[in-house]
């Protein structure tokens, strides 16, 4: 694991994403099955599509308009080439290396160094930087950060996280509905007496635990996409040292961006919530020291 080049890293992280997304699908199936066992066909054929529908509508809107929505939520201002020609030069370099279209560029006035990428597809991509990150990073470091953000664009991570959020959302809504029905509706409506009691208890356990499991899977997917973006960034710049130094600068800096909204925490290159993350399993980013170590291993391979 420690001595892998960026190509091996990329395919490993992609494979793990597919595995996690498949687990997410499996979990949804399991919850639907539990609902079916516990509440019978009548209730679940109505509830399952409803939960998926609500979640889909909620997530789809924020996915489709992600570039504009995130601008609003973070207070980022879109800038033109004249505003910062040197930044645009570095971005154009990475754009050429990646073969992606030129994204929109935005600045967030903030005293913490950070950056993020969003947008529903590469043609609607937006990358944003805080004013502080532009002050403290040299050209190589900034190139690494831009490459990491362009990797999110190229890997379609807004879509991946939208899919993860939709399933996790549907599971949460479904479990919430069913729990309420249990407390207030007096339990199973269309009770057929030949249901296996063990299966009933198991279904209940699944319904209670599924939302937590879904959140864990969603965080795990986010962490995989961060590692993947680091590896893809190296495939663009062939310079792991630039991104590694940038991450070291971010790790050494203890200030965090002011908007600590949970809703947009996962999109920054360094998680603004990491300081108080309950545990590694719920974190949206891999530990920064681990990311540094992986990049250092790539440096020793000479690519």
């Amino acid at each position: 694991m420690a001595t892998q080049d960026f190509r091996a890293q990329q395919s490993a992280n992609k494979g793990k994403t597919y595995f996690l997304l498949a687990s997410m699908g499996l979990l949804t199936g399991l919850v639907a099955y539990a609902a079916l066992t516990y509440f019978g066909a009548g209730t679940s054929t109505f509830m399952v599509p409803l939960a998926v529908g609500i979640s889909l509508i909620g997530v789809w809107g924020s996915y489709y308009g992600s570039d504009k929505l995130v601008l609003k939520m973070t207070g980022a201002k879109v800038i033109q080439r004249e505003d910062n020609p040197e930044l645009f030069n570095v971005i154009e370099e990475v754009v050429i290396a990646s073969g992606l279209p030129m994204p929109k560029v935005a600045i967030v006035v903030d005293s913490a160094p950070n950056a993020f990428a969003t947008g529903r597809d590469p043609d609607h991509a937006l990358i944003a930087f805080t004013t502080r990150i532009l002050e403290i990073m040299d050209r190589d470091e900034l190139q690494g950060v831009i490459a990491h953000e362009m990797s999110h664009v190229g890997n379609r991570d807004t879509l991946v996280s939208a899919v993860a959020a939709t399933t996790a959302g549907a599971i949460a809504i479904l479990s919430d509905f069913l729990m309420r029905m249990m407390w207030f509706g007096g339990g199973r409506r269309d009770r057929d007496s030949n249901a296996n009691p063990v299966l009933l208890v198991l279904s209940l356990v699944v319904l209670i635990l599924a939302p937590i499991a879904a959140t864990l899977l969603k965080s795990a997917i986010s962490r995989r996409r961060e590692s993947l973006a680091d590896a893809t960034a190296v495939s663009f710049t062939r310079n792991p040292a630039g991104l590694r130094k940038a991450l070291e600068v971010l790790a050494a800096d203890s200030t965090v961006v002011h908007q600590k909204s949970n809703a947009v925490a996962h999109i920054w290159i360094e998680s603004p919530l990491d300081g108080k993350a309950v545990s590694k399993m719920f974190s949206t980013h891999p530990p920064i020291q681990e990311r540094i170590a992986t990049l250092r291993a790539m440096e020793s391979l000479g690519n």
């Binding site: 040197e86 030069n89 570095v90 154009e92 370099e93 990475v94 050429i96 290396a97 990646s98 073969g99 663009f236 062939r238």
Partner: protein, 183 residues
């Protein structure tokens, strides 16, 4: 029933053939596009040179040899057309420009002038863009050549009139030799 199955199999085969054919064509087009990107960036660099030479000349009149090297290399680069020729001219010009910037090191007034500083930024970003455009081109050539040589796409290469392409390799003595370390 048998007819439906037979039709389905034929239909799937046709879809498979189309997918392989299109993949090869797409890879071939991305090689063309990425080569065009190299040329765009080389042109940009070439356009920067007269201005740069004039600026350096203003401070360092006695370095005619260096200026000549840059001007000749630039002339060669503008006439090249095949991948190998473009790559060779590109390497020569990169060398000559390095010489020019090394000359500039010896003139503090020049190095401090704002005109030179902005030209230097333009030149260094263009050098990076050229380098990344080369890398992207070579990645595309690598993907195409792999597809042309591996099954199943290799069966369709002749039919799609797609063949292996040339890598863009720059003759750069400095990157061949190990750097000299002096203490």
């Amino acid at each position: 029933m048998e007819i439906i199955i037979a039709l389905a199999v034929v239909g799937l085969l046709v879809l498979f053939f189309i997918a392989q054919y299109n993949r090869l064509i797409r890879l071939n087009i991305s090689v063309d596009e990425s080569f065009a990107q190299i040329e765009v960036q080389l042109k940009r660099r070439s356009d920067l040179i007269p201005n740069l030479v004039e600026t350096v000349k203003g401070y360092a009149k006695h370095e005619q040899g260096t200026f000549d090297a840059v001007v000749t290399a630039r002339a060669k680069a503008t006439t090249a057309s095949t991948v190998a020729d473009v790559a060779a001219a590109d390497g020569m010009l990169t060398q000559a420009l390095r010489g020019l910037l090394a000359v500039a090191e010896a003139y503090p007034d020049l190095k401090a002038s704002s005109n030179f500083l902005s030209l230097q930024e333009e030149l260094s970003t263009t050098e990076n863009k050229v380098a990344f455009a080369r890398q992207f081109y070579n990645d595309n050539v690598r993907n195409l050549n792999t597809a042309v040589k591996t099954i199943p796409t290799s069966f369709f290469a002749g039919f799609a009139k797609v063949s292996e392409r040339e890598f863009y390799e720059v003759e750069d003595p400095q990157s061949r030799n190990a750097p000299k370390v002096t203490f």
